[in-house]
């Protein structure tokens, strides 16, 4: 797994961004960028090249699903790995995310190993 890539972490809760950053740093990722909702995330994506997006679902302004659809509709990011990390894991949520092109899905609460395993799968 290439840990030199640039990762965008999107979550409206600073707590979750901090936990994810800690886990990613432990794995070896150093190039981490944050956004606190989908709208801000899109501005980041337009301003710099991001190699992996890790996003929450339930956020104000633009949800993670809306962000995913926007990302998949863009020329620059239509194949960029997109990991949804969310408490929203009812069946309909998962179906919608898969249909929109999510790369993989982690349900909160999660362990560091669960994040690492999913990243191994989508980045190999």
């Amino acid at each position: 797994m290439d840990t030199s890539i640039k990762v965008l972490i999107v979550d409206d809760f600073a707590t979750m961004r901090r936990i994810l950053k800690n886990i990613l740093k432990q794995i070896g990722f150093k190039n981490l960028v944050e956004a606190d909702d989908g709208t801000t995330a899109w501005e980041v994506l337009e301003g710099q090249k991001i190699d992996l997006i890790i996003s929450d679902w339930n956020m104000p302004k633009m949800t993670g699903l809306e962000l995913l659809k926007k990302v998949r509709a863009s020329d620059s990011y239509k194949t960029t790995p997109f990991l949804m990390v969310t408490a929203e894991a009812q069946k309909q949520n998962v179906i919608e995310a898969v249909q929109a092109g999510v790369s993989n899905y982690v349900v909160k609460p999660f362990t560091a190993e669960a994040i690492s395993d999913k990243l191994e799968k989508i980045l190999k």
Binding site: A87, Q90, P109, F110
Partner: protein, 152 residues
């Protein structure tokens, strides 16, 4: 109020705190809460809509939540501040999500709002429905917290 709605929130609370904060959590005996005064120093409150409308609240004693968030962050947290409030919101969110998955397996589908957080001694927790407020106290090695479940 359908009392079967309560157990998924107890299970979710235990799972979320054990997974994210590595704390052992023991549930006490549920009781019907008669007033709006929080038993904790910081509370997360979240509205739910679906087969029934209601709210859940999670209210923590200061020492308890400081230990929980310290474990989540891997560094010592020593005072109630915005970081603690944010963490309480996210914990409430995760408990809601986990409980709603179990409720969905029972055929009961709910949607959740974004949680709000209240801090301060003797603050009020206002539930949106007029149903009974079922409170479940929990013990940890570093203090107590209580969840409240209230559905119409």
């Amino acid at each position: 109020m359908d009392v079967r709605l309560v157990n998924p929130f107890i299970n979710a609370t235990i799972n979320v705190l054990e997974t994210m904060a590595f704390v052992n959590v023991n549930a006490g005996k549920p009781y019907v809460k008669r007033d709006n005064v929080a038993v904790g120093d910081v509370s997360g409150v979240l509205g739910l809509t679906g087969v029934a409308n209601g709210t859940i609240a999670v209210t923590f004693e200061e020492k308890c939540i400081l230990t929980i968030v310290s474990n989540m962050f891997g560094e010592t947290m020593s005072e109630l501040n915005n970081e603690i409030a944010d963490a309480v919101g996210e914990l409430t969110n995760m408990i809601s999500g986990q409980a709603r998955r179990e409720l969905e397996e029972m055929g009961k589908v709910f949607k959740a709002a974004i949680p709000s957080v209240i801090t301060g001694r003797n603050h009020s927790i206002i539930h949106y429905s007029n149903g009974p407020k079922i409170a479940i106290p929990f013990n940890t090695d570093n203090g107590e917290f209580t969840i409240e479940v209230c559905f119409e």
